[in-house]
C-alpha cells in the first residue's frame, strides 16, 4: 500500500507511511501534534533519553554497535499515560502519590513491627523477622545517617579507581580521532523506532532500507543519517569532526571547542523537535545538569542550538563501558573479581551520592552507563536524571536493573541504590535470568559460587537489591560504608593483608578476652568484650550517656533505671549495664520497648543471648544485624563468638578469621581464631595466627606465650600421639621467640620449662643435635638442656608459695636433671 501523501514515495505499513509517517487517511497532523506535545511535555527532561548509552559506546563505534549492545538489556523510556505505550516494554506511568504513600507506609509499618515484637516476646525466642523488621525504620536510619556524616571510610580515598586498594583493569585513554566512524551508518538490523522499538528502515526485496522515514507502527519519524557533517561549526564554537556513535536521540558527534584550547567535546542531540520554544524550555529544564560537578560524572559544558536541533555539549570520555569490560573479561576467562566490582560500585556510589545530595536521582544506572577511562570511572548519559521532588517527569529505567516499586512510587534514593546493586550482581557473576526469573531478587547463594564464597558481599547485595525499598540502604553514604567494609574483608581475604578502618557505627573492642589461652573466656566475658555501638550525638540523652560511659554497671543501673522516660541511647546504655549485671530479663523488657527497626535492638538482644550462652539465639540476632550491616567487622566478631557458644568451631574459625584478617585491631578475633583452630586440631595454624598479633598490641606478650604453648602442645608427655608435633625448627623458633619476650619471672620460668621439656623430649626422640647451636642461652645438647631445665624447675620451686607445689617442682627438677655420678 503506497503512501497517499503527495511527493511521498513511502509505503504504508501497519497503518503508517514508512517515509513521511502519516497515516494513509491524510488526517495525520492532529495526532502528530498531540504526540509531539506529549513528547515535549515528558521528554524534554530527558535529553539523553534513548540515546543514553551513546557516549558509553562512542569509543566502540568502530564496530558499528550503537545503543544497547546486549541482547537482554532493553533500555526504555517511560512516557505518560496519554501516549498509550505498549505494555510489553514495561512502560509505566508515575503518579504524584509517592511521597504521601510512603509517609503513610511509615506509620503502618511501625504498628506492624510492634505486633511482631509482642508476639515474639511471649514465645521467648525471636523468630526471623524477614522483611517486616525494618519497616518504618526511617527514624533510626535518620539518626544513623546524621552520624555517618562525621567523616567515614570514604574520606580516605585518593580519587583513584579502586581507591588504591584494588587492582583494576587498565583502560588506556583513547585518541578520539580514531573513534570517528568513517562511514556513519546504522546497520539495518539495529534500526528500531525510538518510540515503540519496532524495527524500521529495513531493506526489502534486496533493496537497501531507508535511513529516514516514519515508523510504520506508531508513525514516529526516524532518521539514521547524520545531521551534522565534518567541518560544521555548531554554536559558533564547536567544529564537528565526525560521528562517534548512534544513540536513541540520533547521532553523537565528536567536536573540537574552538574557544577553549581546541579541547575535545561530544555533541549529542536533544529531543528531535522542530519547535524552538519547546526546545528552549527543554534546555532551561536541563540546565541544572551543568551544575553537577563531580569527577565521577561526565561534565556538561553547554547547550547549543544548531538549525532546528538542540545539542548538549559534554566532556569527551574516551574509555570503555563497564559492560564492555565485564564482557571482555568474561570472554577472556578472567571475570572481574568481587573486589573489583565493589570498587566500581564505590565509584558509582560516589557519583550517585553527589547527585543525591543535590536532590537528584540518576534512575537508570546499569553497566552500560559507566565508562572507565584510565583511572577514573564516569557516569555518562545523564538523560535519566531527575529531581527527587519531581513527581511527574518521565522515569527511565532498564529491565533487570530498575527497582520493582518504581512504577508505583517513582524513583528514590533507594531505587538508585537498587540499580547499583543489581548492576554489581550482573557484573560479578553470570547472572542468568536477571531480566527474567530473577528480575527481582537474587539467585540462591548456594547456586552462585561468587556469592557463596563472599557471604558479606552476598548479604550486601541482598540488602541493597531488596524488593522492599524499606529494607534497602538508606543512603549512598550508608551503602558506601558497608560496601567499603565488605571490600576490606574481601581484599584481606585475597592477599591476607589487613585493611583496618574505624567503623562509623561501632567503637573499638572494649577489652580482649581469652588472651591467656589456658582459660577460655566465658560467654559473658565474650559478650562484654564486643564493640559497643557508638552513641548518636543527636540523641537527647547523649550527654548523659557520655557522662555515665565510664561508670560501673551498678551505677548506670541506679542512674537510669527509673520511671522517667529515657532516650534511646540511655535505654541502650541501661540495657548493656543490665546484661553485664546478669539481669537479662529486665534487659529484654527494655529492648522490647525499643523501636524494633533499629538494628541495635537486634544487637543487644543477641548480646543478652550470648551473655547467657544461648549461642543459637545469638546467632539469629547477630545474623539479622549482619544482614543489615554486612560490612561491619564487629558483627562478624559477635557471630564468631556465637558460633563458639554453639560449639561450631569450624564456623568460629571462619568468622574469626575473616575478622582478624580484615583488621588486626580486633585482637579478640585473633585469640578466638587460635582457640577455635586448636579445637579443630589445627595447632599449626593457631600458632601462625598468634604470631600475627602485632608487637604494638597490649596482648602481644600473651599472644607470643600462647603461640609457644600451642606450638609445644604436641610434645606434652600425655599428649595425644596423633596430635601434630612441632618440628625441631618450630621449637627452636619458639625458643627464639621466648628469648625475645620480657616475661615476669614465674610466668617466664613456666614457659621456658615447658619449652625445655619439649626440646628435651624432641631430642630424646630424634637425637642428633646440631653442633654449636645455642638455645635459650645454653648449648643445644641434652645435658645442657636438662641442666637448664633443672635450674628452671628449682627457680619455680623457689617462687612457689605452696609447699606441695614446691615439692612437685623439685621432684621434676630431680627427675629431669642430667645424669651425674653423685
Amino acid at each position: 500500500m503506497r503512501c497517499l501523501r503527495s511527493g511521498c514515495s513511502g509505503s504504508i505499513e501497519d497503518g503508517y507511511c514508512d517515509v513521511c509517517g502519516f497515516p494513509p487517511d491524510g488526517t495525520a497532523s492532529a495526532p502528530s501534534a498531540a504526540k509531539v506535545g506529549a513528547l515535549a511535555n515528558h521528554g524534554n527532561r530527558s535529553p539523553g533519553g534513548r540515546a543514553g548509552a551513546g557516549a558509553g559506546t562512542a569509543t566502540t563505534g568502530a564496530d558499528g554497535r550503537a545503543g544497547s549492545t546486549g541482547g537482554g538489556s532493553t533500555p526504555f523510556a517511560i512516557l505518560g499515560p496519554a501516549a498509550g505505550v505498549p505494555d510489553e516494554v514495561l512502560a509505566r506511568t508515575l503518579s504524584g502519590r509517592v511521597a504521601s504513600r510512603r509517609a503513610s507506609g511509615d506509620g503502618s509499618g511501625k504498628a506492624e513491627a510492634r505486633g511482631g515484637r509482642a508476639g515474639s516476646g511471649t514465645s521467648g525466642s525471636r523468630p526471623a523477622h524477614g522483611t517486616q523488621g525494618t519497616r518504618g525504620s526511617r527514624g533510626s536510619r535518620g539518626s544513623r545517617g546524621s552520624r555517618g556524616s562525621r567523616g567515614s571510610s570514604g574520606s580516605s580515598r585518593r580519587g583513584e579507581l579502586g581507591a588504591g586498594l584494588v587492582e583494576m583493569p587498565e583502560v588506556p585513554e583513547r585518541d578520539p580521532a580514531t573513534a570517528i566512524m568513517q562511514d556513519p551508518s546504522v546497520p539495518e538490523h539495529k534500526r528500531r523506532c525510538g518510540h515503540c522499538d519496532a524495527p524500521v528502515g529495513r531493506g526489502r526485496e534486496g533493496g537497501p532500507g531507508r535511513s529516514e522515514g516514519y515508523c510504520p507502527k506508531c508513525g514516529t519519524h526516524f532518521s539514521f543519517t547524520p545531521k551534522l557533517g565534518p567541518g560544521d561549526l555548531v554554536g559558533g564554537q564547536y567544529e564537528v569532526l565526525g560521528c562517534l556513535a548512534h544513540g536513541g536521540l540520533g547521532w553523537i558527534y565528536l567536536a573540537k571547542d574552538r574557544n577553549v584550547s581546541d579541547r575535545w567535546v561530544v555533541l549529542k542531540g536533544l529531543l528531535d523537535t522542530g519547535d524552538p520554544d519547546a526546545m528552549e524550555a527543554a534546555l532551561a529544564e536541563r540546565r541544572y545538569l551543568a551544575e553537577v560537578e563531580h569527577p565521577n560524572v561526565v561534565k556538561i559544558y553547554n547547550f547549543v542550538q544548531h538549525g532546528d536541533a538542540g545539542y548538549i555539549v559534554m566532556e569527551y570520555v574516551g574509555g570503555r563501558s563497564l559492560k564492555e569490560l565485564v564482557l571482555e573479561r568474561r570472554a577472556a576467562g578472567e571475570p572481574l573479581t568481587p573486589a573489583q566490582v565493589m570498587a566500581y560500585g564505590l565509584e558509582v556510589l560516589r557519583a550517585l551520592g553527589h547527585l543525591h545530595e543535590r536532590g537528584l536521582v540518576y534512575c537508570d544506572f546499569k553497566p552500560d552507563n559507566a565508562i572507565q577511562t584510565e583511572e577514573r570511572l564516569k557516569l555518562v548519559d545523564l538523560g535519566g536524571v531527575r529531581r527527587l521532588e519531581d513527581e511527574e517527569g518521565a522515569v527511565y529505567g532498564t529491565v533487570g536493573y530498575q527497582a520493582p516499586e518504581i512504577a508505583d512510587e517513582g524513583p528514590s534514593v533507594s531505587s538508585d541504590l537498587y540499580t547499583v546493586a543489581r548492576a554489581m550482581a550482573v557484573m560479578s557473576f553470570e547472572f542468568g535470568g536477571y531480566t527474567g526469573v530473577h528480575r527481582t531478587g537474587l539467585p540462591d547463594a548456594a547456586d552462585v559460587p561468587v556469592l557463596a564464597a563472599n557471604p558479606s558481599f552476598d548479604r550486601l547485595l541482598r540488602r541493597a537489591a531488596h524488593a522492599d525499598p524499606d529494607e534497602r540502604f538508606w543512603s549512598a553514604q550508608e551503602m558506601t560504608e558497608q560496601l567499603t567494609g565488605v571490600l576490606r574483608e574481601t581484599l584481606a581475604a585475597q592477599d591476607g593483608k589487613p585493611r583496618p578502618a574505624a567503623s562509623t557505627l561501632f567503637g573499638p573492642e572494649t577489652r580482649v578476652v581469652g588472651a591467656r589461652m589456658g582459660r577460655a573466656p566465658t560467654f559473658r566475658q565474650a559478650a562484654s568484650a564486643l564493640p559497643v555501638p557508638l552513641v548518636d550525638p543527636a540523641d537527647p540523652g547523649a550527654r548523659n550517656v557520655a557522662a555515665l560511659a565510664a561508670s560501673a554497671p551498678e551505677q548506670v543501673v541506679s542512674a537510669l533505671d527509673h520511671d522517667r522516660p529515657r532516650s534511646v541511647e540511655e535505654t541502650l546504655l541501661l540495657v548493656r549495664a543490665l546484661i553485664e549485671r546478669r539481669q537479662q530479663e529486665r534487659a529484654r523488657e527494655m529492648i522490647m520497648a525499643l523501636d524494633e527497626a533499629d538494628w541495635r535492638a537486634h544487637w543487644f538482644w543477641g548480646l543478652a543471648a550470648l551473655a547467657e550462652g544461648d549461642g543459637a539465639a545469638a546467632i539469629g540476632e547477630f545474623g539479622r544485624v549482619y544482614d543489615l550491616l554486612p560490612g561491619e567487622t564487629a558483627v562478624r566478631l559477635a557471630l564468631a563468638f556465637s558460633a563458639e557458644a554453639v560449639g561450631d568451631s569450624a564456623g568460629a574459625v571462619h568468622l574469626h578469621r575473616t575478622v582478624w584478617r580484615t583488621d588486626h585491631s580486633y585482637e579478640n578475633a585473633a585469640f578466638g581464631l587460635a582457640r577455635a583452630l586448636v579445637a579443630e586440631g589445627d595447632d599449626r595454624a593457631a600458632v601462625q595466627v598468634l604470631t600475627e598479633v602485632p608487637a604494638s598490641s597490649g596482648r602481644h606478650l600473651d599472644a607470643q606465650v600462647a603461640a609457644v604453648v600451642v606450638a609445644i602442645r604436641g610434645w606434652a608427655p600425655d599428649a595425644d600421639p596423633i596430635r601434630w608435633r612441632a618440628t625441631r625448627r618450630d621449637l627452636l623458633a619458639a625458643a627464639d621467640r621466648v628469648e625475645a619476650l620480657d616475661l615476669p619471672e614465674e610466668r617466664g620460668a613456666r614457659l621456658i620449662a615447658l619449652l625445655l621439656e619439649a626440646l628435651v623430649a624432641e631430642l630424646d626422640r630424634s637425637g642428633d643435635p646440631p653442633p654449636d647451636r645455642r638455645v635459650l642461652g645454653v648449648p643445644y645438647t641434652e645435658k645442657a638442656l636438662r641442666g637448664a631445665l633443672e635450674g628452671v624447675y628449682r627457680d619455680l620451686a623457689r617462687l612457689s608459695t605452696s609447699r606441695s607445689r614446691r615439692r612437685g617442682f623439685v621432684d621434676r627438677a630431680n627427675f629431669i636433671r642430667p645424669r651425674t655420678a653423685f
Binding site: G518, L751, G808, N814, R819
Partner: protein
C-alpha cells in the same frame, strides 16, 4: 594399678608442666613424690636396722647365757651328781673290802687303808651332795631325790658304821666275816642299792634333763636366730638397694656413697652375724652332744664299773650270796661292755673276740665296733683327738681286769680263798684290784679328753658371742647414720 599420677593443672596460659601434684595416692608407691619415697624407705631401713641389732644382740646374749648355763652351771651339777653316784658306789665297795679283809695280815692292803678309802668316798659324796643340792630349790623332782638321797645316805652310814664296829670287835681272817656283820652289811648295801643310789640316779637324771632341755632350746634359738638375722639383714640390704635405685632413677644421681657404705656394712654385718651364730650353735652342739654326753655316759660307766668291782669283793665276802653277786657282776659288766654273754668265762671269751675284731679292723682304719654297752656307745661317738687312744686303752684295761676276774673266780672254785682275797684286794698290776685301778684311770682319761673338749667349746663359743652383744647396735647406728647422711641432702631440697 599403674595409674598415672595426677599432674598439676594447667595454668592461665595453658601451660601444663609434667609436675606431679601433691595430692598423690598413698596406696601406690609409684605415685609418691621422691621425698616421701626416700623418707619412707629411710624410716623402713632405720626400723629394720634397729630390729636387726636388737635381734642380733638378744641372740648373742641368749647364746652366751646358754653357754654359761651348760658350761658353768647345769653342766658341773650334772657332773657332780654323777660323781655322787660314783662316790656312793666307791663307799660301798670299800666297805665290802674292809669286811673282806678283816684283820688278815700279809695282804698288799690293810683294813686301815681300805677304811681310809671309805672315808674319802664319804667325804666326796658329801661334797657332791652339797653341789647337787644347789639346784634342788627350783626343781621339785631333784629336791625329792635329794631328800631321799640324804635320808638314805644317813641310814646307810649308820648301818655301815655298826658293821665296821662289829667287824672290828670280832677279828676274823680274810673273807670270813661274822654272820652278824654280814647281816648288817646286807642291810647297809640294800639301803644303798634300794634308796640312795636310785635317789642319786634320779638327781643326776633331773640335772641331765635340765641340761638337755637348755641345750635344745639354746641350740634351736641360735639356729633360728642366725636365720632371722640373715633374713632381716638381707631385708635391710634390699631396702638400701631400693633406696639407692630409687634415688638414681628419680634424681639421676647414680651413686650415693654413704648409702653404698651403709649397704656394705649391712651386708657384711649380716653375713658375719649369721656365720657367728651358726658357729656358736655348732660349738654348743659339739660341747653338749659330742663332749658332755660322753662325759655323762663315761662317768656313769665308771660308776657301774666300780659297782661291779664291789660285787667282786662281795662275792668273796658273802659266800652265801656269792652266786647273786656273780650274776650282778656280769650284768654290770654287760652294761659297760655288752658282749651278749652273762656267764663266767663266756663273757671274757666274747670280750676277747670283740676286742680282737676291733683291733683287726682298726689296723685297716675301719673301726668295726661289735660290742654294745656304755663303752661301745663311746666308741661309736669318738670325735676328739686323743679320745680314741684313751678309749682303746680303757677297753684294753677292761679286758685285763676281766682276765684277772676270771683267775679270781678260778681260785675261789679251787678253794684257794686266801689267795683269792689277796688277789682281789692287791693293788698290784697283775692283781684284780690293781688292774681295775688301771682301768679306772684309763676311763678317767677318756672322760678328761671329753671334758677338756667340753670346756674348750663352751669357752670358744661364749667368747665368739661375747662381742656380738655390742657389735649389732654399733653397726645399726652406723647404718642409720650413713643412711641419714646419704638421704639428708636429697630431702633438704624439698624443704
Amino acid at each position: 594399678m599403674a595409674s598415672t599420677p595426677a599432674l598439676l593443672p594447667a595454668d592461665e596460659d595453658g601451660i601444663r608442666l609434667p609436675v606431679q601434684d601433691a595430692g598423690h595416692t598413698w596406696i601406690n608407691p609409684r605415685g609418691w613424690l621422691t621425698p616421701d619415697l626416700v623418707r619412707n624407705l629411710a624410716i623402713l631401713i632405720t626400723g629394720l636396722a634397729i630390729v636387726l641389732a636388737v635381734l642380733a644382740s638378744v641372740q648373742a646374749s641368749g647364746g652366751k647365757a646358754g653357754f654359761e648355763e651348760i658350761g658353768h652351771k647345769a653342766g658341773p651339777q650334772v657332773v657332780a651328781s654323777s660323781d655322787l653316784y660314783l662316790a656312793l658306789n666307791n663307799m660301798d665297795a670299800q666297805l665290802a673290802n674292809a669286811l673282806l679283809i678283816g684283820n688278815a695280815q700279809g695282804l698288799r692292803v690293810t683294813r686301815e687303808q681300805v677304811l681310809g678309802d671309805y672315808e674319802a668316798g664319804r667325804r666326796q659324796a658329801d661334797t657332791d651332795l652339797q653341789k647337787a643340792s644347789a639346784l634342788a630349790g627350783d626343781d621339785q623332782r631333784a629336791a625329792t631325790a635329794l631328800r631321799q638321797a640324804l635320808d638314805g645316805f644317813g641310814h646307810y652310814q649308820a648301818l655301815a658304821a655298826q658293821a665296821i664296829q662289829l667287824d672290828g670287835q670280832h677279828p676274823h681272817p680274810a673273807a670270813r666275816p661274822s654272820p652278824a656283820v654280814l647281816t648288817l652289811y646286807r642291810q647297809a648295801t640294800s639301803e644303798m642299792k634300794g634308796t640312795v643310789l636310785p635317789a642319786a640316779e634320779a638327781l643326776r637324771t633331773a640335772n641331765a634333763d635340765r641340761v638337755e632341755s637348755a641345750y635344745q632350746s639354746r641350740y634351736r634359738a641360735l639356729n633360728v636366730g642366725a636365720g632371722t638375722v640373715l633374713g632381716v639383714g638381707l631385708a635391710v640390704v634390699v631396702a638400701l638397694a631400693v633406696l639407692q635405685f630409687s634415688l638414681a632413677r628419680r634424681t639421676r644421681r647414680m651413686v650415693a656413697p654413704a648409702l653404698v657404705v651403709a649397704t656394705l656394712v649391712a651386708l657384711g654385718g649380716t653375713i658375719l652375724a649369721t656365720f657367728t651364730f651358726a658357729l656358736a650353735a655348732d660349738h654348743l652342739r659339739v660341747a653338749k652332744t659330742d663332749a658332755f654326753d660322753s662325759v655323762l655316759a663315761l662317768t656313769r660307766g665308771r660308776a657301774i664299773a666300780w659297782d661291779a668291782n664291789a660285787d667282786e669283793s662281795r662275792y668273796l665276802a658273802d659266800p652265801q650270796q656269792a652266786d647273786l653277786y656273780q650274776t650282778a657282776f656280769y650284768t654290770k659288766a654287760n652294761e659297760l661292755v655288752d658282749t651278749g654273754s652273762v656267764h663266767s668265762g663266756g663273757y671274757e671269751t666274747s670280750l676277747g673276740q670283740d676286742v680282737s675284731r676291733y683291733q683287726g679292723s682298726a689296723e685297716q682304719g675301719r673301726y668295726i665296733v661289735t660290742f654294745g654297752g656304755l663303752l661301745g656307745k663311746e666308741f661309736r661317738n669318738i670325735t676328739f683327738p686323743g679320745e680314741r687312744a684313751a678309749a682303746e686303752d680303757a677297753l684294753e684295761r677292761w679286758q685285763i681286769y676281766q682276765g684277772n676276774d676270771a683267775r679270781l673266780r678260778d681260785m675261789v672254785a679251787g678253794g684257794q680263798l686266801q689267795a683269792a682275797v689277796s688277789f682281789d684286794t692287791s693293788p698290784g698290776d697283775n692283781a684284780s684290784n690293781g688292774s681295775f685301778t688301771a682301768f679306772d684311770a684309763a676311763m678317767r682319761r677318756v672322760i678328761d679328753v671329753n671334758d677338756e673338749q667340753f670346756t674348750e667349746n663352751i669357752k670358744t663359743g661364749g667368747d665368739d658371742l661375747s662381742g656380738w652383744t655390742v657389735i649389732p647396735p654399733v653397726g645399726a647406728v652406723v647404718i642409720i647414720v650413713l643412711v641419714l647422711a646419704g638421704v639428708r641432702p636429697r630431702l633438704a631440697e624439698y624443704r
